[in-house]
């Protein structure tokens, strides 16, 4: 008797069976009650079946791929850790970029996991729902692999130990935190445009490529491994973001102005968060990959330009803040690192003035601006430090109400003038660093009047441990804030020069390479 072998399913059939076929129309409950958040943002969707998932990935294949990637990743991490890979780094200064990543970026990966789980539940279409589910799982995997691979540094270096605690409290971490809180407290469609499109598509290359290439250039196999392990996921995320935008725009012409406003808003919010990446690239990597300016030209101006040319077919125009962002590329990193140099006592990583050799590189990469505007600042600080007066700014800065970054950004056409913008709402003044941040506030002031601005919270007395006694005669508010941040004064913060990290790294490396 002949054996009857059933035919193996093709990719398309499998996808339909395991994705589209999981959809049904409820009869006991109204559709609008099952998906209650679909209408209030004003987006109109007529036919969810029109959403195309170009990856057509099904859950069974997803598990298989991810498991394989995990095995490879952990093999590399184990090898790196067991061989004391950290001693092969270019310099321990590099490790401060990892502290910035762990405190500022990894918690956002976790929030992205929550965000995509939430919006996936909200979408009535099976295609985007399954894609969001997979992205949600990717994001939690990314945050876990980052925490795992960076945990090895925590055994040897300071400043890694309270990353999660600090993400919710430390002044500069309110920038990435408030960015994501803004997105996750939006409706499902805005979240998809904010994170799925503006961040994952338009800006992601400016976040991941610099950090991961930075890891590769500076001998960090651990961070490099999690970067590569995440890379294939990222391309899927980018596709989901772009397909969602196109899908929303194709569904109804009324969607265009809403989507355009979200693109304007979220491009600007994401760009402000990337300030941290700019200074990391130009100032924190001992061996640099490329300058922020070069990265901006390649990943934003060239790639982004092509993307917006494509979206012009749908009526989408380049985001409002685009032109200013392109002008800022000559200034952003220098101004940002100056902020961390100023407030180096209040961050859980080390800062330093660039060396003469560093400044040569900066002059070459920024011939029109570095020597003219920024070198005098850094040379002055280096001289002061040499004479035993390392400059630490002891007074709290004014913050932008929207992005929560200290108001250090200068006017787009005058790098000697701080940009000040102001609005009034219900009789109170609000201040902003830019037109972009002011526009965002002016459209939804009710949202941003609630901003938890670290400087204001400190003055309100909300940033001390329960043991602190502000009425005590010797009460030192800044020292008490550091305790609440769980930053150990003199160990986790201050200049790299003379730090325990510097001493240990040099001593261990000497022991590893000689007698």
């Amino acid at each position: 008797m002949d054996m009857k072998v059933s035919k193996k399913l093709g990719l398309k059939d499998r996808y339909n069976l395991m994705t589209r076929d999981l959809e049904w129309t409820p009869t006991y409950q109204a559709v609008k009650d099952v998906y209650p958040d679909m209408a209030y943002e004003g987006i109109k969707i007529h036919d969810w079946s029109k959403f195309e998932d170009p990856f057509r990935l099904t859950m069974d294949a997803y598990w298989k791929y991810q498991a394989e990637k995990e095995r490879k990743l952990y093999a590399i991490i184990d090898a790196f850790n067991q061989n004391n890979g950290h001693l092969g780094l270019t310099d321990a200064r590099y490790i401060n970029a990892l502290k910035l990543f762990l405190t500022g970026v990894s918690p956002l990966e976790y929030m992205a996991h929550r965000g995509f789980a939430h919006v996936g539940r909200q979408f009535p279409g099976a295609g985007p729902r399954v894609a969001c589910l997979m992205q949600s799982l990717d994001e939690i995997r990314h945050s876990q692999t980052q925490i795992h691979s960076l945990s090895n540094y925590n055994k040897f270096y300071n400043g890694f130990q309270n990353w999660r605690h600090q993400h919710d409290r430390v002044w500069y971490l309110s920038v990435p935190k408030s960015f994501f809180d803004d997105a996750i407290s939006s409706g499902p469609f805005e979240y998809m445009v904010a994170i799925g499109f503006a961040f994952e598509y338009v800006l992601t290359n400016l976040l991941f490529v610099p950090f991961i290439s930075g890891a590769a250039y500076n001998g960090d196999m651990g961070a490099m491994a999690f970067g590569f392990s995440a890379q294939s996921d990222e391309s899927r995320h980018m596709t989901l973001g772009l397909e969602m935008i196109k899908f929303i725009l194709e569904q109804d012409p009324d969607n265009l102005p809403i989507v355009q406003r979200w693109i304007d808003k979220w491009f600007w919010r994401g760009y402000r968060v990337l300030t941290l990446v700019a200074m990391m690239m130009d100032y924190m990597l001992p061996k640099r990959v490329m300058s922020w300016k070069e990265a901006w030209e390649v990943y934003a101006e060239e790639n982004g330009g092509a993307l917006f040319a494509d979206l012009a077919r749908y009526g989408i125009t380049v985001p409002k803040g685009w032109e200013q962002a392109c002008k800022d590329k000559d200034h952003l990193s220098h101004q940002a690192w100056a902020v961390f140099y100023n407030y180096g006592a209040a961050a859980p990583f080390h800062t330093w003035a660039p060396s003469e050799k560093d400044m040569e590189w900066l002059s070459a990469k920024y011939p029109d601006t570095f020597d003219k505007y920024y070198r005098p600042r850094y040379e002055h600080w280096a001289k002061e430090a040499k004479e035993g007066r390392r400059f630490y700014n002891g007074t709290l800065p004014m913050l932008c109400q929207t992005c929560q970054i200290p108001m250090f950004f200068t006017e787009p056409d005058d790098p000697t003038k701080i940009a000040y913008r102001e609005s009034s709402y219900h009789g109170m003044k609000y201040h902003f660093c830019s037109d972009g941040c002011k526009d965002i506030f002016d459209f939804e002031p009710e949202k941003y009047v609630q901003a938890w601005l670290p400087v204001h919270q400190i003055y309100q007395g909300n940033c001390f441990t329960p043991e602190a006694d502000p009425s005590a005669p010797d009460f030192n508010p800044l020292a008490e804030v550091l305790k609440w941040y769980r930053i150990e004064m003199g160990r986790d913060n201050l200049d790299y020069e003379g730090s325990q990290d510097q001493k240990n790294f040099n001593a261990w490396r000497e022991a590893a390479t000689g007698n």
Binding site: P36, G42, K372, P376, H380, T395, P397, M398, F408, I418
Partner: protein
């Protein structure tokens, strides 16, 4: 426009004056970007304007080599970007300064480290 929300969206603003020990004043020194951003300081409304400049500012701006050269009688002031004249003998409140007001001052002739506005 109002926030798109599933229900009534009304929350108290976080930074009303009653929550602070004193009204907040934002102060920036033009052409001296060594101080990376303007400052935010709760100053008592009874503080005399002149005492703020001569008593409090040394602790805030004193680290800059130009600070000792400031002639306060020649300083130019701006309130929310508009030219403004303070009365140094009057208090901050009597100068009309309130919660979250923004002042900038320019010190003619002083242009920062090596004239770089740093």
């Amino acid at each position: 426009m109002a926030v798109a929300a599933v229900r009534k969206y009304e929350f108290a603003p976080k930074d009303t004056a009653d929550k602070f020990p004193a009204p907040l004043l934002y102060v920036g020194w033009e052409d001296h970007l060594m101080f990376c951003a303007p400052f935010c300081v709760p100053f008592p409304p009874t503080l005399k304007f002149g005492d703020m400049c001569r008593g409090a500012f040394p602790g805030i701006f004193g680290a800059h080599p130009d600070f000792a050269k400031i002639d306060w009688d020649k300083a130019e002031w701006f309130k929310s970007g508009q030219p403004w004249k303070p009365d140094h003998d009057k208090s901050l409140a009597d100068n009309g300064l309130g919660h979250k007001d923004l002042l900038r001052f320019r010190t003619p002739g002083l242009t920062g480290l090596q004239g770089s506005c740093s």
